[in-house]
Symmetry: C2
Subunit: 366 residues, 2 copies
């Protein structure tokens, strides 16, 4: 995947840098971990410090000190999760800032403008994200509105690209825009959403509205059904997913791009992902465990520190606990993706998949 | 200063690693900053995770992943600050753990044992630390008890060194023990304390009981008066001090070793030390300030980030704010010490001192 700030080998995992920072680590540390792309959040950055300020800084890359690709989500997911603080209409969403209660709005057009100012390599279109479970009727209505917003968002994107929108500069020339397929867990709606979104025409396509509480098997089924209809020559992005198992299983179903807060959020809660499955470092049994979290892991945390030390830091509430756990978990995710890419390259993905599950969860692939 | 885990160029500043971690940064980051020695806290490590556990790990160095010298304080200062939770007698101090209320005690002997298990390069003797202001009578009584504890502590230290104390292993062969001079701001008491402590005989000596609220000029006066009486061929350690100005002024008065929580604690509160004095990064005037915190500073924070970005991280409550501010402040302290050492080497300390004050505080040296 070739973007304005560089090339991304796929399938790839994007660490989440919600507020222009990957939680608990510095950008230097992120750089050392080696991801080729990270994600930042349009909603959060619009509210604070503001996309105008970031544009003044020369865009998100210069603002945060990161020179590789960045993808910004559309803010849709965040806004829709503010269930009691937002009003939805055909035009867009009006909501109260979670910070100061100020009345703000996002529309398919304004989201394009904000992301132009932020200067992401990839801007996501604005979509309506229904919660799960959604009736066929509710999912259909959200999916159809999302299609109308796709058209409006793409038109705005092309106008901004042509320099035809006053007051909206683009911090990153060559920005791409990805469309988002909705439709909940209803396959007929996914079919119509794919057809409509591809008809509008984006640089690539994402599957939205999954990983929102539905059973895993159902998610895998919808992913397989949807991914195979998306253009083969474009990366397919499964938004907000998932566990290490989800990554392997979704790649098996055709997915090329992921983002998820799990490795960073769970690190702060003391969960470490290892080749033999996740462990909770606060468990008393690790108090005198002098092994690294994962004996085979070459990350800075595993190279220098024992489970006993990490448990001590966690129990003591030291900030370094969050940092070291995050470094390990992100390394684990990125390393899993490297192993997947290598397996695909050598034509051994199926045997990688089997052995991953045997080691990680001692379960058969679903 | 040659210690079991290496040589320390003096004058030196020790970053504070209270609970076997320098707050907000990883040991890898500390290593990259280049201090030759760090400090850890006997009291905190005794309470959690326990010195027995750390001895099992092979000592503090292995436990925390740090292979250069470590100094552990005696725990005295922490215990005496638990004013309403401790009972003081000639034997030592009985106190309730700040964690679980468990009844614990520290004596001149047990503090030696704990530090032997921790395996610091330098163990500090147990002293009685009166609060400020102290009457002549109160300061005299604490100073005299401290002298009696010096004798007991040194006897125990020698017994443990000789392997003559059952159940107390020493994780670091070649551990040194420093004596502590007390006496508050009363010069006659400082004189008696120096004479008595030197008579007991330690590898080196510290000045305790300052930086506890007394005016700066008074502290400098007591430092000058006390330091000049301490053996010339041994490092002189001023405990718990201080601001960048305090470091320069105390070196001028003969001090070789410092520790202080200011660079790390103030970092977490958004204060950054710069060549032109401290700045508070949360100040609104930095919202669009694209300069680094300190234009001349080569630290990772200043190399990659602007004041505007650091302000954003701080206002957003990102953990990376604490980390980046800490990296900068520690670098500033360590760099100031490097500049001091270089000035001493080249015989230009007085002109360094003048220009430091002109730039940093625009004040004359006191």
């Amino acid at each position: 995947m070739t973007l304005a700030h560089g090339t991304v080998e796929t399938p790839a995992f994007m660490p989440v840098g919600t507020r222009a920072a990957v939680k608990s680590v510095t950008m230097d540390q992120v750089r050392d971990l080696g991801p080729e792309i990270i994600l930042a959040n349009t909603y959060h950055l619009h509210v604070r410090p503001g996309d105008e300020l970031i544009a003044e800084a020369g865009g998100l890359h210069r603002f945060m000190g990161w020179d590789r690709p960045v993808l910004t989500d559309s803010g849709g997911y965040q806004v829709f999760s503010l269930a009691d603080r937002r009003q939805l209409s055909e035009d867009g969403v009006v909501f109260r800032s979670h910070l100061d209660g100020q009345l703000l709005s996002l529309t398919p057009e304004s989201v394009v403008d904000i992301q132009s100012r932020l200067g992401a390599d990839v801007a996501m279109m604005f979509d309506e994200c229904p919660s799960w479970p959604a009736t066929h009727e509710a999912a259909e209505s959200a999916m159809e509105r999302t299609l109308r917003w796709a058209r409006r968002g793409r038109d705005r994107f092309e106008a901004v690209s042509a320099g035809a929108v006053d007051g909206v500069a683009r911090s990153t020339p060559g920005q791409a825009q990805f469309g988002i397929v909705q439709g909940g867990t209803h396959k007929d709606l996914r079919d119509r959403s794919v057809a409509g979104t591809v008809a509008v025409g984006f640089e690539a396509y994402a599957i939205g509205g999954l990983s929102v509480g539905e059973p895993n098997d159902l998610m895998y089924d919808v992913v397989a059904h949807t991914a195979e209809q998306l253009p083969e020559d474009r990366p397919r992005y499964l938004m907000g997913t998932g566990t290490p198992e989800d990554l392997v299983e979704s790649v098996a179903r055709g997915i090329d791009l992921f983002d998820c807060v799990l490795p960073t959020r769970n690190a702060r809660n003391g969960q470490l992902f290892t080749r033999n499955g996740p462990i909770s470092i606060k468990n008393a049994k690790y108090a005198r465990d002098w092994q690294p979290p994962d004996a085979e892991c070459p990350c800075p945390t595993c190279r220098h520190h024992s489970r006993a030390y990490l448990r001590h830091l966690f129990m003591a509430g030291e900030i370094a606990a969050a940092t070291l756990n995050t470094l390990h978990n992100l390394h684990f995710y990125l390393d899993t993706m490297r192993a997947i890419r290598k397996a695909i390259e050598f034509g051994t993905f199926e045997s990688f998949r089997t052995s991953f599950h045997q080691t990680y969860s001692r379960r058969q692939p679903v």
